[in-house]
Amino acid sequence: MSNLSRALLFGSVGMDAVFAFVVVPNLKYDADTQTLSMYLPTSIVVDKSNVDSSRLAIKVKVGREWEKKSIGQNIYGAKVVITKYFRETFELAIHNMSSFKSSIFEFEDEYHRNNQVFVSQVKKKPAEAQDAKNKNKIAALILAKLTPPYISEGHIILGPTFEFPSGSYSKMFYVDVDVMEIWFYDKTTGAIMAKIKREDKNP
């Protein structure tokens, strides 16, 4: 990897650059406290086909999506149309989650259990918060540096059954990073609303 660290990847971006990835955050407003919570959900990292609990992923971009239909048959000869959905995503695999202990919360709803999210809160008047949420004005910026192994990949396969004849094949392409800061900003003005900084000293 010695040459990797010296080589330019594209433009004037080298391996030691500060990378900035734009992500759409989830927003939740509490009118009683006039607090707007901005959070970034994470997901598990799958190393090939095994869960790697040392890293957490943030989805940045959805790549190709397509589907294939075929005829399936059970052991009794009954036939059914099977639909397979294929999806590629490009995600950040974050190595230094421990650097953000006080900004990460466990989030639970009917679909997600023990989901860890990055959270930042700002005070906003109800009309402003409503406008920001309805017009998707807020974006998150993940500022990060590459860390070995730099890239990795994984996949999740959910096979079809006769009762549920649809399967999915998700392929995740990870860029491995140490996060430096996370900014939440107003896309229309560029104004920075909040920053989440790493709690440990930068290496």
């Binding site: 990797l4 971006v13 650059a17 734009v22 890239i151 392409f173 860029v175």
Partner: protein, 93 residues
């Protein structure tokens, strides 16, 4: 003899003039191709994504801002890794 030589010269000229237009068209085609290729390259290189390291010292995010293209970053590293991992007896391309 002189007349025959002049006649031959005129015929030769006509042949050259007949052949030349297609030649020049070919040349035009050939000369046009690189221009269109460079235009394609221009459109490819003019990306909405960031092409340099991000400056952490800014107090405002540019608008509009798309940051780095994660797919481009992934593919660039993948390419570098393949070059790095190639055998010493293999050529790069």
């Amino acid at each position: 003899m002189k007349k025959i030589f002049i006649l031959m010269f005129v015929v030769f000229l006509q042949i050259i003039l007949c052949v030349n237009p297609s030649d020049s068209a070919d040349k035009e085609k050939k000369s046009v191709q690189p221009i269109s290729t460079s235009k394609e390259k221009q459109t490819r290189s003019v990306s909405k994504y960031l092409n340099a390291s991000f400056n952490l010292a800014v107090d405002r995010v540019p608008t509009p801002f798309f940051g780095h293209n994660i797919e481009e970053v992934y593919k660039a590293i993948e390419k570098r890794k393949k070059v790095e991992e190639k055998s010493e007896f293999e050529t790069s391309e």
